[in-house]
Amino acid sequence: MEQALLVSNVLLWIAVLALGAIVFALVRQIGVLYERVAPAGALMLAGGPKVGEAAPHFALDDVLGRAVALGGADAEGRSTLLLWVSPTCPVCKTLLPVAKSLAAREARRARLVFASDGNAEDHLAFVRAHALDAYPYVVSTDLGLAHQVGKLPHAVLIDAAGIVRAKGLVNSREHLESLFEAMDQGVASIQEFVARSGGSR
């Protein structure tokens, strides 16, 4: 009797471990699937001026006291990449060097403007800590409200004529580049591009 129970117990343990391993493997596979299916471009959220509409006009002073004009035709004929960041958002910090390198690459046709809201002193410290003084950095709640910025980091690409060309939540270099890609391709978002080119969903 004892022998029989022992054998069955050993067998059951083996079976339970095998099933546990299978469950774990399946759960991992589901994770990989989600990653593959997720849109690779900046995720566009509802609200704010739509792609193709004019960006609202703003004449602001940035944290270092420089005048910054947003919206309307650009004097230098360049587009504007508006990037909302915050000292308290960890993803924003990882995105800063990416934004800087992208701004350097696209310098001929686009300028980078950081935006945020809250306490100006915090932002000044943030600008110093991350060497952002080469770029306009505006602190304006109204600007964020006008563009209906919810989650950070959020980016809006405004072309030289003051029209919103692309926007969305940006977490990576791919997301930021997708905004320029969307402007070049004349589509509103990578999601729309995928839908147009008959991407299977």
Binding site: G20, F24, V27, Y34, V37, P90, K93
Partner: protein, 178 residues
């Protein structure tokens, strides 16, 4: 009568907790900068204390894991450490700051906070408290070796599955919303 636990169960629980704390410390050490960023995201400690606190948490995890190898009562320390993490998550959930990185699964998986994490941690705390109970005097036989090894293995697999499911949840929500 004092509450006590079968020695095979106690050893299996302790072994599992050693692996849990050891792997947690290993993940944090491998990317200390990411852990510091996650810790800062919780906004519970002053900026200057972050670097020191990060080292202290890793040290606490390693010391607790080491102590569990020798003494069952180190289970109380493990429970306290896990409860402290739950408290930090709970405070930020109450503040409505769900979007910060949990820092719970190592640097590979960014994961927002969720009440499900509190449930997971509560289960772990309960297991740690169970592990801290004194063992019944009973001689261990070879089948116990099988039970302990298999139970630890199963624990690792189940914990991994639960974590992956938790990490998958926001991705699924993002897909549904998109």
């Amino acid at each position: 009568m004092e509450v006590s636990l079968d020695p095979a169960l106690g050893l299996a629980l302790r072994g599992g907790l050693v692996l849990l704390l050891g792997s947690a410390a290993w993940h944090k050490l491998r990317d200390l900068a990411a852990f510091r960023a996650a810790l800062a995201g919780y906004r519970l400690l002053p900026e200057r204390a972050i670097a020191l606190a990060a080292i202290l948490f890793v040290a606490a995890e390693l010391v607790t894991a080491g102590a569990l190898l020798f003494s069952a009562s180190a289970g109380y320390a493990a429970a306290a450490l896990l409860a402290l993490y739950s408290l930090a998550i709970g405070v930020n959930l109450a503040r409505g700051r769900r979007e910060i990185d949990c820092g719970c699964f190592g640097p590979a998986a960014r994961q927002p906070l969720s009440p499900a994490l509190l449930v997971r941690n509560a289960a772990l705390v309960a297991l740690a408290l169970l592990a801290a109970l004194p063992a019944q005097p009973r001689p261990l036989v070879w089948v116990d070796g099988l039970t302990i090894a298999a139970a630890i293995g199963l624990g690792v697999l189940l914990h991994g599955s639960v974590n992956t499911l938790l990490a998958n949840a926001p991705r699924l929500r993002a897909l549904r919303g998109a």
